[in-house]
């Protein structure tokens, strides 16, 4: 079935370094992508989104890159902080009037002080 995969299940970075989390998606019809952050005991929370007609979008300390040719997404976190420790999911969205969101398995980010 439809799936969104991730290259690395865990990522450990030093505080202050930049983090890069990668994701591959499978549905070429998906026109919208979102990165979510899930902290322990909480539901996923929106970080940043990107539409399929874009290849880069920047937020506060985060950047999402989209490569439609190889169906690849990445999330870059600048100057990673201990509060960034969480599980990160990429999600692909397709359809209108009742869109469907498919999540990947997630990458756990550990930030070492």
């Amino acid at each position: 079935g439809e799936s969104v995969g991730l290259h690395l299940p865990t990522l450990s970075v030093q505080e202050g370094d930049n983090s890069i989390i990668n994701c591959a998606y499978s549905n070429s019809a998906s026109d919208y992508f979102i990165w979510y952050k899930q902290e322990s005991g909480k539901g996923p929370q929106f970080i940043i989104d990107i539409r399929s007609n874009m290849d880069k979008r920047q937020g506060q300390r985060v950047t999402v890159l989209l490569n439609k040719t190889v169906k690849h997404l990445s999330l870059q976190i600048a100057a990673t902080q201990p509060g960034d420790s969480a599980v990160y999911f990429c999600a692909e969205i397709s359809g209108t009037g009742g869109f469907k969101t498919i999540f990947g398995a997630g990458t756990r980010l550990f930030v070492k002080a």
Binding site: Y32, F46, K100, F103
Partner: protein, 114 residues
Amino acid sequence: DAGVTQSPTHLIKTRGQQVTLRCSPKSGHDTVSWYQQALGQGPQFIFQYYEEEERQRGNFPDRFSGHQFPNYSSELNVNALLLGDSALYLCASSFFNRNTGELFFGEGSRLTVL
């Protein structure tokens, strides 16, 4: 402005029993989606409700059913519980006619089946 609220937060059932989970969407949202999240995995889409009808469904058996009420709140029902149904059940609300695809999640209901 209340966010998405779910109840109960934790519950324990035995195999074969039935469970009902409840969700109130974020104020102003008209659509509720339910997800199952097993430990160490990503959320798996169960179904989506809008205008009191199931609009989309993931690969879940008929034991999983739902309902949406006129005030947009929703219930998830699971019959004949199996050990494998143990998971965190997440409710997410959104606008049906989207300009964005952002889902707003509750903190989930953790179901343990013994």
